[in-house]
Amino acid sequence: MKLTQLQKNQTAKVVGIDGPKSLRERLFSFGILPQEEIILKEYSLAKQTLEVLVGDTLVALRANEAMLIEIEII
């Protein structure tokens, strides 16, 4: 299941990240990497942009990027 499919305020575990190295490194630096918990906090109209919580950091990302994050609901 992809991060974009998560419901608001639902918690999930990251299982895999696809995409170019630069994007992966960026996500890593925010603490988005496999085995870490991720919560969807808010999304904009039409789900074009998502706000997620990882650790103590709120991160905004586009649906394009969120599509590359494979998750598992816990």
């Binding site: 190295k21 630069s22 904009s44 905004a60």
Partner: protein, 707 residues
């Protein structure tokens, strides 16, 4: 003798680096950063005295752009990474946000691997304490192997201790920081270290550091060892070690493997040193977010804030602008009187003083707008703006943050170009800069009012004006899409952005930011604008045809009625402008505009519009021999325009004015913000061709349907 210490100040964005640097240097020194846009490094130099050892130091603090990690993702991260790798410094001070320890320690582990002296500043400790976060900095010091100092820039806590630690680390023998890795990697490190020990290999760095760099496939180290005899024996060991690591991690991607290692270390370190009692602050930000980035309420709230900001910028800003205008007008008159109407008086009174006035005039706008933007930035709201609007703007190759410079463009392009600094991606910033001109600025309004008033009934004028503005904005978005597709191509950059915690703004930081902005505007834009104003003054006053002047002076001496005098004066002004360089240029370029239905007068007026859009109306006044005391409401001018300009040409003229190059002041600021004069060349070509083509189409269509 003074000892020089060069300190590289590194940290993630939003950790209060700028505030800390202000606190350290006592805020006596200029720190001219726009929050978040420290793309260039700033250096702060100040003396510091070690009282105990009574040694004087000269501290050089180099403020590096904020970086989440040492990668090449953003321009900031590239700048920081390359500076840190250059090694042209003595000590790294790593500023860490104590309220977000784990993520910040990720960068710390990367910094520790640089093999340099490091001091960690646990900044914003006051905020962390308020949030119920307790950090054992002594334990953290032991784990990292470097001094960790609790600091708070706002409360001036730990500033002295930090400086002492820097000096101490600087003068002490260097001991390598320790990052501990997972067992499989530690095993391979020990294996390589054991081999090096056996060989008694001579190198200035510790074996552990060398082994680690070999496992990370560090290019510099490989190049160095490549020419050494030990290489033949070392190579198979490294190969073997790496294959063990690959096997264990089920991947051959070393950057990924070490990213996991760094993350695990940072997480482990945080667990050991940090205890948290409540979650209050975190919830606070999320509660505010529930409202501010709400799907339905977010955008209306944002629009309300924007409305307020523009009201302040352009309504409040107008008051000092009027004073400045009056002051410079009086100064200009006074100067001309003082010099007695000579050429020097005219140069200073008509060229230099109005030029300086035009620069200073924008200052109130810039200051108010930038206080507003600094507020949005420092409170953390700007990231929410990007979140709310990115979905729409991304479709046109722009970014959510493009909204603010674009809307500012409706007021004035000068602050709008400067506001584009909030965009960090180079392509998105350039596209935004290129289309700001499409948002018709306030100075174009008189031209629209004049032409709309002349050709449309009064009851339609409002709607036509509105249409002009909307059409401009839509054209701008289309132009953005075109630029994105054909010029600023390349992968659309991923959008992954931190939503920083909401914070109360620091007045001091805002003051520093705005002061720096205003000063750099006055200095850089000022010199060019004054020079260019003088050039335009020259072009419109020379060659000075003495024969013509005398001719008219003779005629003027003969007439008695005031009416005739002013008529003759106006005629003289018209002829003088026509034979000046500017008039000659207008005549020369007239054929270019002929297909658009413009006569030479309109061509000259467009030319003077490059100096300032307000001038277009007064130039038309002069050229229709009505004198220069006309404005867009002047009935004489409206009648003249109606009589002399066909409807199709008038519409084409409006379209051309909508799109072509903004005024001189804006052009200079554009060149500076875009990063070079060649960009102004591109903008000139881009806007002129677009304006010409669209005006041509409008002219032809209107003629065809024969309105």
């Amino acid at each position: 003798m003074k000892n020089k210490i060069i300190v590289a100040l590194a940290g993630q964005p939003n950790v209060g680096k700028s505030s800390l640097i202000n606190a350290i240097s006592n805020a006596k020194l200029k720190v001219g950063n726009f929050s978040g846009v420290t793309v260039e490094k700033t250096e702060v130099i100040f003396p510091w005295r070690d009282e105990v050892a009574s040694v004087d130091y000269e501290m050089h603090i180099i403020d590096l752009p904020g970086a989440y990690s040492l990668t090449d993702y953003t321009l900031e991260e590239k700048t920081t990474k390359s500076f840190l790798q250059s090694g042209e410094y003595d000590v790294i001070v790593n500023v860490v946000d104590a309220t977000n320890l784990q993520r910040n320690l990720l960068l710390t582990t990367q910094l520790l691997e640089m093999g340099k002296k490091v001091v960690v500043a646990l900044n914003m400790i006051d905020e962390a304490e308020k949030e119920g976060i307790k950090i054992d900095e002594k334990q953290l010091s032991l784990i990292l192997g470097v001094p960790c100092i609790k600091t708070s820039a706002s409360q001036k806590r730990g500033i002295d201790a930090l400086q002492e630690a820097i000096v101490k680390v600087h003068s002490n023998q260097f001991s390598y920081p320790k990052v501990v890795y997972s067992d499989p990697i530690e095993e391979e490190i020990s294996r390589i270290v054991a081999f090096l020990e056996e060989k008694k290999y001579q190198i200035e760095v510790p074996y552990r550091h060398l082994a680690l760099k070999l496992l990370q496939e560090d290019e510099a180290i490989f190049k160095k060892l490549h020419h050494e005899p030990i290489w033949i024996e070392l190579l198979p060991i490294i190969k073997d070690s790496l294959s063990h690591i690959y096997l264990h991690n089920k991947t051959k991607d070393l950057s990924k493997i070490f990213a996991y290692e760094h993350f695990a270390f940072a997480k482990g370190a945080k667990m050991e040193v940090m205890a948290r009692k409540t979650m209050r602050a975190k919830n606070m930000t999320q509660k505010i977010d529930n409202l501010l980035i709400n799907k339905f309420l977010g955008i209306p709230i944002f629009l309300f804030f924007m409305w307020g900001l523009f009201q302040l910028t352009f309504t409040l800003g107008e008051i000092p602008m009027d004073w400045i205008d009056m002051f410079f007008a009086a100064l200009s008159e006074g100067t001309k009187e003082f010099f007695g109407g000579g050429n020097l008086g005219s140069l200073i009174g008509d060229g230099v003083i109005p030029g300086v006035g035009a620069v200073v005039m924008f200052l109130p706008n810039i200051v108010i707008l930038f206080v507003g933007i600094a507020l949005l930035e420092t409170t953390g709201y700007m990231s929410r703006v990007a979140f709310l609007l990115d979905g729409f703007f991304h479709k046109f190759g722009l970014h959510g943050k493009s909204f603010i410079p674009l809307v500012t463009g409706f007021g004035c392009s000068v602050p709008a170009y400067m506001a584009a600094r909030t965009l960090k991606n180079e392509n998105e910033r350039l596209i935004t800069l290129f289309i700001i001109g499409f948002m018709s600025c306030g100075a174009r309004l008189p031209i629209y009012v004049l032409f709309v008033g002349a050709f449309f009934a009064a009851e339609h004028a409002g709607s036509v004006l509105f249409l002009i503005y909307i059409a401009g904005a839509m054209l701008g978005l289309i132009a953005a899409k075109v630029l994105k597709t054909f010029v600023f191509r390349g992968e659309s950059e991923p959008f992954v952005m931190e939503m920083p915690k909401y914070r109360l703004p620091s007045l001091k930081l805002i003051w520093h930011t705005v002061y720096g902005q205003a000063k750099s505007y006055l200095k850089k834009a000022g010199t060019f604008i004054v020079a260019a104003s003088m050039l335009i003054w020259f072009a419109s006053n020379y060659p000075n045809d003495q024969v013509l002047k005398e001719q008219y002076e003779e005629k003027l001496a003969l007439v008695e009625t005031e009416e005739k005098t002013s008529l003759l004066e106006n005629e003289y002004k018209k002829l003088a402008l026509e034979q000046s360089y500017l008039g000659q240029i207008g005549h020369a370029i007239a054929p270019v505009f002929a297909p658009l239905g413009f006569d030479w007068r309109m061509s000259v007026a467009l030319g003077t519009g490059l100096a300032a859009k307000e001038v277009v109306v007064s130039t038309l006044g002069i050229l229709y021999a009505l004198g220069d005391e006309v404005d867009e409401e002047s009935e004489g001018l409206v009648a003249q325009i109606k009589a002399n300009i066909p409807f199709a040409s008038a519409l084409a003229f409006i379209v051309f004015v909508m799109i072509y190059l903004p005024c001189l002041a804006a052009s200079v600021v554009f060149a500076k913000e875009a990063g070079g004069w060649r960009y102004l060349g591109y903008l000139f070509v881009f806007t002129t061709i677009t304006a010409w083509v669209l005006a041509f189409i409008v002219y032809q269509i209107v003629q065809l349907i024969g309105v």
